[in-house]
């Protein structure tokens, strides 16, 4: 049996968790076993019925009022108890901020090694074989784990959802008991950014700016462009972030975030090694740069040699028209 930790935020199931469920389902079918899901929180009554169509045959609701706010210790306590009961072959997390925080803690509790931020999962001699980028994508490592259960976190936006199944499932509620003093730290408050921003690691399309943007005020152009593209986010190169033109959370590259969107559009980014490492697993790359010799063109599927300040408005108009037509 595969167990998938499903993350909810403000009552909604995260898409990357459904991706992890889908990949668990594909591998579980190969190994002839089923997939269960686990959700932590208080009063988890209001799950969307479509949930089961993404691959889980059983969902465990791990409930305790103290799990209302995320706490690594509380969540690990709840999951560890369930793992002891179910004895799963593998446990999958989405490699989200929460997944990356929680999975290693659970692995340590179980005394097992962990495959972080995987971009591919296969089966080799009855075991799972994980593939993940190392050195921010400058190389790739495939490996198996000698410890059981096999725990992995899967990079968002990489694994496709399964075709929805018409299966119903079973919901099992479990009250988690949390001893006094077991939770020594927890989330107190979510501090929202400006509106409903999508993180670069989750975006399907990234419009990214570098030195060629010339100043902080011009990042507004990219924000306007992102605003008309569904599921998109604004990225930036290290030099743009170091010049304080935009916040560090937007930085793509080895010293920032490694991303794999469907489309990455680089405006005025020359293509330093550490930047290319962080974005070259994007499915399609577009580069707009004045300098025809810029390294970014060596990895770009489409390039425009020209002034980005003339290209952006034209691109915006073109996309607006396209999306209006549907």
């Amino acid at each position: 049996m595969f167990l998938v930790f499903v993350e909810t935020r403000e009552g909604k199931v995260k898409k990357s968790s459904l991706e992890a469920l889908g990949e668990a389902k594909r591998r579980a079918v190969e190994l002839g076993c089923e997939v269960n899901a686990a959700i932590c929180g208080p009063h988890l009554g209001c799950l969307h019925p479509e949930f089961f169509s993404y691959g889980a045959s059983k969902v465990f609701l791990l409930e305790n009022p103290q799990l209302a706010q995320y706490s690594p210790q509380g969540y690990v306590l709840a999951l560890h108890e369930l793992v002891g009961e179910l004895n799963p072959k593998a446990i999958f997390f989405a490699a989200t901020a929460m997944g990356k925080d929680l999975a290693p803690r659970l692995a340590a509790r179980l005394g097992v090694s962990l495959a972080s931020d995987c971009t591919k999962v296969g089966v080799k001699d009855g075991k799972l074989e994980f593939t993940r980028p190392i050195y921010a994508g400058k190389a790739f490592l495939s490996f198996t784990l000698k410890s059981m259960p096999q725990i992995a976190s899967l990079r968002p936006n990489v694994f496709p959802l399964i075709e929805p199944l018409s299966q119903a499932g079973e919901v099992v509620k479990k009250d988690v008991s949390i001893p006094d003093g077991a939770i020594q730290g927890h989330v107190a408050e979510i501090l929202k950014g400006t509106g409903e921003e999508i993180d670069v690691t989750e975006a399907e399309i990234i419009v990214s700016g570098g030195r060629g943007m010339k100043g902080p005020e011009n990042f507004a152009l990219l924000k306007e462009l992102a605003a008309i593209i569904p599921r998109s986010a604004v990225g930036a190169s290290r030099s743009a972030v170091d010049s304080e033109w935009i916040g560090h959370q937007h930085q793509v590259g080895q010293t920032g975030k490694t991303v794999s969107p469907n489309l990455y559009i680089a405006f005025g980014i020359s293509g330093a090694i550490q930047h290319l490492a962080g974005m070259s697993s994007s499915k399609v790359i577009v580069a707009v740069n004045k300098d025809p010799e810029a390294s970014i063109f060596k990895v770009a599927d489409y390039g425009i040699v020209g002034d980005l300040f003339q290209v952006i408005p034209a691109l915006k108009e073109g996309l607006k028209k396209l999306f209006a037509e549907g």
């Binding site: 995320y70 690594p72 210790q73 901020a97 929460m98 990356k100 999975a103 290693p104 803690r105 692995a107 340590a108 005394g111 090694s113 972080s116 074989e129 980028p133 190392i134 994508g137 190389a139 790739f140 490592l141 495939s142 490996f143 198996t144 784990l145 000698k146 020594q184 730290g185 927890h186 989330v187 107190a188 408050e189 979510i190 501090l191 950014g193 921003e197 999508i198 993180d199 989750e202 560090h248 959370q249 080895q254 010293t255 489309l263 090694i273 070259s280 399609v284 025809p292 990895v299 770009a300 489409y302 390039g303 040699v305 020209g306 290209v311 034209a314 691109l315 108009e317 073109g318 396209l322």
Partner: protein
Amino acid sequence: MNILVFVKRVPDTESKIKVNRETKSIIEEGLNFIINPNDEFAVEEALRLKEAKGGQITVISVGSEESLTTLKKCLAMGADEAALIKDDLKETYDGLRTAKIIARAVERKFPAFDLLLFGKQAMGADNLQVPSMVAEMLDLPQANVVTKLEVDGQKGTAVREIEGASEKVVFTLPAVVSAQKGLNEPRYETLKGIMAAKKKVVPVITIEELGLSKEDVAPLVEATKMDMPPARHAGKIIQGTPEEAAKQLVSLLRREAKVI
């Protein structure tokens, strides 16, 4: 405040990485090594906490003797003491193994502490595992990928980055905190610091001394393959005026690449 900071020596982020497919490892010859940039934020944060509240900073690295250079850099930045846990195994990409060594070293050699500071992840293995694992092994609260840290008595508050927002985490001390870009701006070493660091003796601790056997620290990650990313090739340069090129790009992205 007694702070332990954990640092790692990693290949420079500006270097090209080459892979030996047979040994399933990276080729280290010709690589320039630096302190893991995330760890520099951790060292800087420790220095700022010490400046505000007093205390002692000990910087610890698990690695080969070459990591002494990394530790000396931290001493030159202003850390009080350093220690090397000598581990001659090359990169194992196994976070659990490193966490086991660190947790045991803390228990046996550095039991008095208020804060364990890490960089969020080592550039290279990119695991983001060790801080959480050490926190679990030592039964401590954790705050990872933090961009703000405040300590008041036995209480800590941190802001950590999540998707499209951040969250405020409250915890009690002692605790594990991992640093990332945005937390602070690491200082440069001063000449005086470099001179003082030269004179400091860095004790070397072996894994055996920590009471860990070969089996205890045997890697559980078994590499089956290491490779370079699939090569990308330069594609089409779209000609024409900016307006024409943009129009054509939209059409190509829809009809040919099918990504919008």
